[in-house]
């Protein structure tokens, strides 16, 4: 060991940089394509369930999901949580609500954000409407929906 001091312990960064591709298949693929067109699609399942975002196989029965149907673009907030100080990589740069939105025609909630200005404007049961980003900026992504806004003010 000799005079080798503990301060000489070697360190090096280990950055793991790895690129994945995702083949989304016919159902999620149609959902993402729909968003690019300004439409929100859900999957029909057993017992009249309409799942949004759509799943390829019914989460309850495992059966292949039925036809895709357009839902929304408005719906009802079932539950929400207010964010006073958004961090840099969150969807909006101003205070907003994370919310589960049950779109008209859907039976499950879609997690998204509501731009309501103040938590005083939020309530479970309130109606909101999807606001899409400009068509030229859409890329087949959940954030093609910029946010939801209270229906009265839209």
């Amino acid at each position: 060991m000799g005079d080798t001091g503990a301060e000489e312990v070697l360190r090096a960064p280990h950055a793991l940089d790895y690129t994945y591709t995702r083949s989304v298949g016919p159902v999620i693929g149609a959902f993402l394509t729909g968003l690019r067109q300004g439409r929100i699609l859900g999957a029909t399942g057993a017992g009249g369930v309409v799942t949004v975002p759509p799943t390829e196989y019914d989460p309850q029965t495992g059966e292949r999901s039925g036809e895709l149907v357009e839902v929304g673009p408005a719906g009802v907030v079932s539950t929400w949580a207010w964010t006073d100080h958004p961090s840099a990589d969150q969807p909006l740069d101003r205070p907003f609500a994370w919310a589960l939105v049950t779109l008209d025609g859907a039976t499950t909630g879609l997690l998204h954000v509501v731009d309501a200005g103040s938590s005083d404007a939020m309530s479970s049961g309130m109606r909101v409407r999807a606001k899409f980003v400009p068509e030229a900026d859409r890329r087949g992504h959940l954030r093609d929906i910029e946010c939801f806004v209270p229906e009265a003010s839209s």
Binding site: L10, A12, P13, H14, L16, Y18, T19, Y20, T21, R22, S23, V24, G25, P26, V27, I28, T55, E56, Y57, D58, P59, Q60, T61, G62, R64
Partner: protein
Amino acid sequence: MGERCAVIGVGQTKHAAKREDVSIAGLVREAAERALEDAELSWADIDAVVIGKAPDMFEGVMMPELYLAPALGAVGKPMVRVHTAGSVGGSTAIVAAHLVTSGLHRRVLTVAFEKQSDSDAMWALSVPQPFSAPLLAGAGGYFAPIIRAYMRRSGAPDHIGILVAVKDRKQALKNPYAHLHMEDISFETVRDSIMLWDPIRYLETCPSSDGAAAMVLADETAAAASPRPPAWVHGMAMRSEPTMFAGRDQVNPKAGRDCAADVYAQAGITDPRGEIDVAEVYVPFSWYEPMWLENLGFAPEGEGWKLTDSGATALDGGDIPWNCSGGVLSSNPIGASGMLRFLEVAMQVRGQAGEHQVDGVRRALGHAYGGGSQFFSMWVLGDDKP
């Protein structure tokens, strides 16, 4: 072994470089539905699901079995995930079979998959580490020196690997599900392909595939009710050893020899070459055929290459045909590759292998290995009850 267990349904995808038309869920569903169709069963008839794949890092989906449960009709049923690197397809089938032999379940669906187009598994295997030269060698770089050691030890001539590569690709032409269908494959095309990791040439390596495999395993009562002939499990075993330890023989790993000895003892086999009619053995690099011929007891140590050289392992005229389906050299959806070996021998025993069927198969060996030749799984199937 407890209760008897048989394969009563098989299904696989058409293996391809990129299945961009389906998600991972769609891919496994395709194989599983075909296995159910073959068994003439519905999802409701299945008691439990056992699924396997290689490292989650390959597709970047952690614990994919959780999200695949609805696609495999497993909601509300026992579901188990198995992971033993490249041998996982075999290990998965064995874990599923144990659920039957233990008497726990009557019909078990087992599935394995890989969607290599979602990533690049070759390079995922050689991530650069601090203070080490970046090898970027992949699996081939790992196995090349081991193959070189085999060649030196056995005195095998250079052309043996080429023979295996040509044989398995020709056999793949008879298998509609194989990824590679190389009509113009020849000794010269393999010999003249680029040397990737000496002594492994490009055409002596497996492809990178998307694919899935599935089987329905059943107990004696369920097998009796099955519409097609069952393939009975006569023996099955798994063994593993560390990647590195002093005195390890990487050319002829002890875990492989022990695994084979266990399976043969269960199946009452004392002369593998004489008593086994056909084998599907995990050969991702051509030279692993002669090496495994020795490890699995089909030839004395140092003489496996002579069997390959004589044509003994060919579907056309050989007395112990290996990899009639084209093997891993023709289709490599990593996680599914081991299960394809297990599934292909079930097809041979059940007489449903079509153009690559060997006449009169009564007993067949399925084999898989993984990691640094350290995980092994094998089973022997027969057309009669054990």
